[in-house]
Each structure stands twice: as structure tokens, then as C-alpha cells.
Symmetry: C2
Subunit: 197 residues, 2 copies
């Protein structure tokens, strides 16, 4: 594992600043663990990553090294500059208490990545409604091109796999160790990250 790795404990989330030109390395420490990533323009937090714009401009739902992540204003917020896995999701919203209630039938649901992101970003004035569709690092979602069916499979990431995102503007970042059973092959593990200058 890299030195200076900050650990996000299982089923939790953090927020931090990532300045233009800095690189964020997100490491799957034990393997098969998803990390939901969201970011905001630090100077104007109404600008936020947009799955719809990113997929439209990339012309693919499978984003990997070389792909920029665009904002709702069609500006490049960051770029994937390293990726040892090549399989991530940008279709689904962060798991939430509603996810666990609706999909899993839990009666006392966990707050999920959505709740963890809300809590982590609250100090920066981000409201729950302002949490967008996240870039779900290591999440393995398949789409059947004929039927449209969406399936969540165990991540392809193994221990030590990583993704590096380079900021193209000053960013506020939210990042989680995902809380949803299916997304992480029914085990909750930590995620590591570090900021590289």
C-alpha cells in the first residue's frame, strides 16, 4: 500500500479540498470495495459533477484513464489519469436509507453513502438535495444492451487497486467507503486515499 494513506472506515465518508493540479489516489485496500465520489467547484458550489454530461461527451458509460469528468455546466472538473481496474459506475445514485428500504427491505436502514456524504459535506453548506449521482469508483454495474437490465456485481478490484483523479479546478470532494451489501460483495471494508501534489 502507498505511504500516507488516509483510511475511510467501513460504511462512512469524508470531505476534503483538492486544489487544481493535485491528484487524488483512491485505493481499494482489501479488494471488492466501492467508493462513491462527488465533487463541487470550490468557488461556486452550484457547479457539480454530472453523469449525464460526462457520459454524453464520452459516448460511453465505462469511464477510465483519459476520461474527463464534466460538471453540470459542461466544464472539466477532474480527469481520470490512472486506473488499475477499468470498471466503475456513473449511473446510480449513492446508496441511502431509501435504497435499503426499497431494494433491501430493511426496516431500520443504514443512512448509506448518501447520508455519509450529507454529513461530511454539511459543513461546506452542501444540502442533501445537492448530492448528485456519484462517480462510483470500483462499482461493477452491468447493463444488458437488449433488455436494459441493470445488475450490480462484485467489484473487479483487488487489494491494492487504485484510481487517480487529477483536479482541473479547485474542488470540494466527498468520498465514501460504500455501505451497500450488493455493491461490495456482502462485506464492508475500508477505502484508502491520499492527495498527491
Amino acid at each position: 500500500m502507498p505511504d500516507n494513506l488516509t483510511i475511510i472506515p467501513p460504511r462512512s465518508g469524508v470531505s476534503f479540498l483538492l486544489k487544481k493540479g493535485q491528484r487524488l489516489k483512491v485505493v481499494d485496500i482489501e479488494g471488492e470495495q466501492v467508493s462513491d465520489f462527488v465533487c463541487y467547484n470550490l468557488e461556486d458550489k452550484g457547479e457539480v459533477i454530472s453523469s449525464g454530461r460526462t457520459i454524453d461527451y464520452a459516448e460511453t458509460i465505462l469511464l477510465t484513464k483519459g476520461h474527463p469528468l464534466y460538471s453540470n455546466r459542461s466544464n472539466v472538473m477532474c480527469e481520470i489519469v490512472e486506473d488499475t481496474v477499468g470498471r466503475h459506475d456513473f449511473l446510480l445514485t449513492p446508496c441511502s436509507a431509501d435504497t435499503f428500504r426499497i431494494i433491501y427491505g430493511h426496516t431500520q436502514p443504514h443512512r448509506g453513502c448518501f447520508g455519509n456524504l450529507c454529513a461530511a459535506l454539511e459543513e461546506y453548506g452542501i444540502s442533501p438535495d445537492a448530492i448528485p449521482i456519484s462517480f462510483n469508483i470500483f462499482m461493477h454495474v452491468t447493463v444488458d444492451g437488449n433488455t436494459g437490465k441493470v445488475d450490480v456485481l462484485p467489484p473487479k478490484s483487488k487489494a491494492g487497486d487504485y484510481v487517480v483523479l487529477e483536479a482541473k479546478m479547485d474542488l470540494l470532494v466527498g468520498l465514501t467507503a460504500c455501505s451497500a451489501e450488493m455493491s461490495n460483495n456482502y462485506a464492508f471494508k475500508p477505502i484508502g486515499y491520499q492527495i498527491e501534489e
Copy 2:
């Protein structure tokens, strides 16, 4: 064509209220024409349709009769109750000046469905940043399940085809006759709609 059809002229958009229980019929008058649909909770406009939540709960990207459209707060905003086509898109953002600049290379781009929705919804206090990924009625987007590649093909809708959405809460609706060449097989046509009690 149905009586009392209101016409949205080519490359334009409208906004209107749709009360709980009312049904919105969206008609492709000439065929092969896309209509971008967005909606907000009339009582609290921070609540808006969410592609990520809807696809997650439906477990498919192909939404049709019987599928509810969920909000960012995981409430059902409306439901598709009739659909003579069965092929629509909920992955891509409304076309915009940036779309035409980035994808089409236009130097004096049209404002697109995004600009038309902004203009139509401004009187209700909706800001451009609050325009979500739209439910793109009649838009024919394919996803290659293996490569992830996304393609925009001519709509499958023929003259007179329609979709009916039933409101499950009081809604503010934005609706367009889409402005993007690829989406409409390189012809710009009107869209018709009517509200049924």
C-alpha cells in the same frame, strides 16, 4: 391526433403545472421527434426527478409503462401509465449550447433543450443549475453492454405515438421539442401535449 393538443414548436420548450392525479399525454406528431421532460415538486422545488434513483429502483435503463419516476428524495413523482413506443432515454442531460459546441463543433450553437428549459422554468424560480438529467421521451439511446459505448439513434416513434405520465404529487413540468440533430434523425419537428383530468 387527439383533440385539444397544445403544440410545442420545433426547438422550443414550455412549462406548466400538472396536479396530482392529472395525466400528461406527450404526442410525437410527425414521428422521430424527442421531447425532454423534467419535473419538480410544486410545493418544494428542491425535489426533482432523478435518473439515478429511478434506474436503481427499476433495475433497468429502459423505462416504460408501469415504471414510476422517482425524485432525488426517493418519492414517486409520476408514473408511466401508457407508452406506445417503449424506447426512451434517462441517461443523458438535455442538449445545450455546450453539447452543440463539444459534440457537433458548432461555433454559434443553439441554446438547446437546456436553454429552452431554463427559459421556460425561470418564472418559477428554477435556476440553470437545477435542471436535472431529463427523461428524454422517444429518445433512442443504445448502450453496448460489453464496451459501454453509447449511441444516439433515430427515435422509434412514428406519427401519433405517445406516452402518458400520471402525476403522483403536484408538479411543475418542463417539456421540449428537442433541438439536437442526432436525437431527431436530423429534422426538427413539433411535439404535442395535453393534460387529461
